[in-house]
C-alpha cells in the first residue's frame, strides 16, 4: 500500500513544485478487472492514482495519440518497465522532448490478462478481485476462486526481463535491473519446432478471428503514423474486409513496422477483443532483432532504433549464393 501512497505523494510534490503541468497515471476502473488512464492536473486528484495488477495500459500511447496533444506541456508519467522503454523510444524518435517528461517508475509484478481470468471462471462475471501479491482471489455470483497470481498474468509479463524502468527520473521504491527469465522464448521455440504447415494452420486460425477494429494498433505507443498504411486508400494497399489474407498482411506489416521498436508490453494482445495471440509475432521479431543486431527496443536512450541503423559487416545468411 505504501507504494501507492508514495506514488501519490510524488505526484503531489511534482505538481506543487510546478515541475509538471500534468501527470499521466492509472486509476481504479469501472470494472473489477480494469484500471483506466487518469490525467492529473491538480494535487487533490492525486489520491485517485493507483498501481496494481489491473494497470495494463501502456500510458506512453498518450504522447503520440491525437498528434501529440501534450507536446507543449511538462508531463509526468507513471511507467512499468515496458512502458518506460516506450517512453525512451518515443524520445529517441523525437516524439517527446526528454526535458519535458518526468519518467516515474513503479515496481511492476505483472499485469493481468482478462482473458485468462475469464478462462478461470468459465466465462462467469467477476465482481471482485483481491490480489495479495502471491494469490489472486476472484469472487462472483455463487463462486469464489483462489489461485497463484502467475496463472492470470499477461503473456508479456511471463516473458518479461525488465519489469522496472531502466531509464527514469524517479522510482517509487528500488528498481530491479534485468531479471533472468528462462521461459522468455519458450513458446516461440515450441512454435518453431512445429512443421511449416502446422505453423501455417495455427497462424491462420488465429488471424482469421481478426475483425479489423485496430485496437491493437491504437493502444500501441509505437504505432503513430500520421496515416496508417491500412487507412491509405488512394491507392489502397490492402482491403478492409475480414478476408484472411488482408488481415494477415495487416498484422505482418504492423509487426515489421514495430520491428526493433516493440517493447513487448502486450497492450495489443490485452486490447484485442477477439483474443488473438498477437504478441507471438512481435516476440519472434524482437528475438530476430536481438540475435542479428544486438538491439533491445527502448533500452538505450542514446541508441538508435534498430531498423534505422546498420552495420556493414552484418550477418547476411539469407542472401542467395
Amino acid at each position: 500500500m505504501s507504494m501507492v501512497n508514495n506514488l501519490r505523494k510524488t505526484i503531489k510534490e511534482l505538481l506543487a513544485e510546478k515541475k509538471i503541468d500534468l501527470f499521466i497515471v492509472w486509476e481504479k476502473g469501472s470494472l473489477p478487472l480494469s484500471a483506466t488512464p487518469l490525467f492529473i492536473t491538480s494535487e487533490d486528484e492525486a489520491d485517485r492514482a493507483v498501481f496494481d495488477i489491473t494497470c495494463g495500459n501502456n500510458l506512453s500511447v498518450y504522447f503520440t495519440k491525437d498528434r501529440k496533444q501534450f507536446s507543449d506541456k511538462k508531463v509526468g508519467i507513471a511507467v512499468k518497465g515496458c512502458d518506460a522503454r516506450s517512453v525512451v523510444l518515443n524520445i529517441l524518435e523525437k516524439q517527446i522532448d526528454r526535458r519535458n517528461v518526468v519518467i516515474t517508475g513503479v515496481p511492476c509484478h505483472g499485469v493481468l490478462d482478462k482473458k485468462k481470468v475469464l478462462d478461470k471462471t468459465d466465462g462467469r462475471e467477476v465482481l471482485e478481485m483481491i490480489d495479495d501479491g502471491d494469490t489472486v482471489t476472484l469472487k462472483g455470483k455463487g463462486y469464489e476462486l483462489s489461485f497463484d497470481r502467475s496463472e492470470i498474468l499477461s503473456s508479456s509479463c511471463l516473458a518479461c526481463i525488465y519489469p522496472d524502468a531502466q531509464e527514469c527520473d524517479i522510482f517509487i521504491g528500488d528498481a530491479r535491473a534485468e531479471i533472468p527469465n528462462e521461459n522468455r522464448l519458450k513458446e516461440i521455440k515450441e512454435f518453431e519446432a512445429l512443421s511449416s504447415s502446422e505453423r501455417w494452420a495455427n497462424t491462420r486460425a488465429e488471424y482469421e478471428k481478426c475483425i479489423r477494429c485496430y485496437a491493437c494498433r491504437n493502444v500501441c505507443p509505437s504505432c503513430y503514423c500520421n496515416v496508417c498504411f491500412v487507412d491509405q486508400n488512394d491507392p489502397g494497399w490492402i482491403g478492409n474486409t475480414c478476408e484472411f489474407t488482408d488481415s494477415m498482411i495487416f498484422h505482418i506489416i504492423r509487426n515489421l513496422h514495430v520491428a526493433g521498436r516493440c517493447v513487448e508490453c502486450g497492450a495489443c494482445e490485452r486490447a484485442c477483443p477477439m483474443d488473438i495471440n498477437l504478441l507471438q509475432l512481435n516476440r519472434k521479431v524482437a528475438m530476430e532483432v536481438k540475435d542479428r543486431f544486438g538491439d533491445i527496443a527502448g533500452l538505450d536512450i542514446n541508441g538508435k532504433p534498430a531498423m534505422a541503423d546498420f552495420r556493414e559487416d552484418e550477418k547476411q545468411d539469407f542472401i542467395m549464393g
Binding site: S196, M248, I252, N255, K284
Partner: protein
C-alpha cells in the same frame, strides 16, 4: 491445359541488379522466362508491403535484388534494406510461408551471369514448391 509455370516477381534496383539483368540480356545468356521485372531506384525502396502484396495477388515467388554491400548508389540504401529483409524472411517462415518463396540477392551491373544463375535457381526452387496458395487472396 499447359503445364503450370511459376510466376515470379523480380524487384531490381536500378543501378546494379537491373543493369545486371540488362547485361545478361545483351550477352544472350539463357535463363527461365518466369520472372516479371519491376525496377526500383534502390533496394532500400522496397517496402515489405510490396512483397506481401505480390504474394497476395498470386505471384508464386518474389526476388528482391540490389547492389552488393558497399556499392549502393545512395551509400547505405541496401544496408537498410538488408535489415528489413533479415527480419521479414524469418517472420514469414515463422508463420508458415515456405522459405524459398521469397529470396534476396546482390547482383552488380557486371554480373550478368550471376543474374542468370540466380533467376534459374529461384525458378527451380519455386517450381519445386508448386503454386503459391497460402497468402493468395481469392476474389
Amino acid at each position: 491445359m499447359s503445364e503450370w509455370q511459376p510466376r515470379i516477381l523480380a524487384i531490381l534496383c536500378n543501378w546494379c541488379s537491373y543493369a545486371g539483368a540488362d547485361l545478361a540480356g545483351v550477352s544472350r545468356m539463357q535463363y527461365p522466362p518466369n520472372i516479371r521485372v519491376v525496377r526500383v531506384p534502390c533496394s532500400g525502396r522496397v517496402d515489405p508491403l510490396f512483397i506481401m502484396k505480390s504474394l497476395q495477388s498470386g505471384f508464386d515467388g518474389v526476388l528482391v535484388s540490389g547492389c552488393h554491400p558497399g556499392d549502393c548508389h545512395y551509400i547505405s540504401g541496401n544496408y537498410i534494406a538488408r535489415r528489413k529483409f533479415a527480419v521479414l524472411k524469418p517472420l514469414l517462415e515463422f508463420i508458415g510461408i515456405e522459405p524459398n518463396r521469397i529470396q534476396f540477392s546482390w547482383i552488380s551491373a557486371g554480373e550478368g551471369e550471376r543474374f542468370a544463375t540466380v533467376v534459374t535457381k529461384i525458378t527451380e526452387d519455386i517450381r519445386k514448391l508448386g503454386p503459391s496458395t497460402r497468402l493468395v487472396k481469392k476474389l
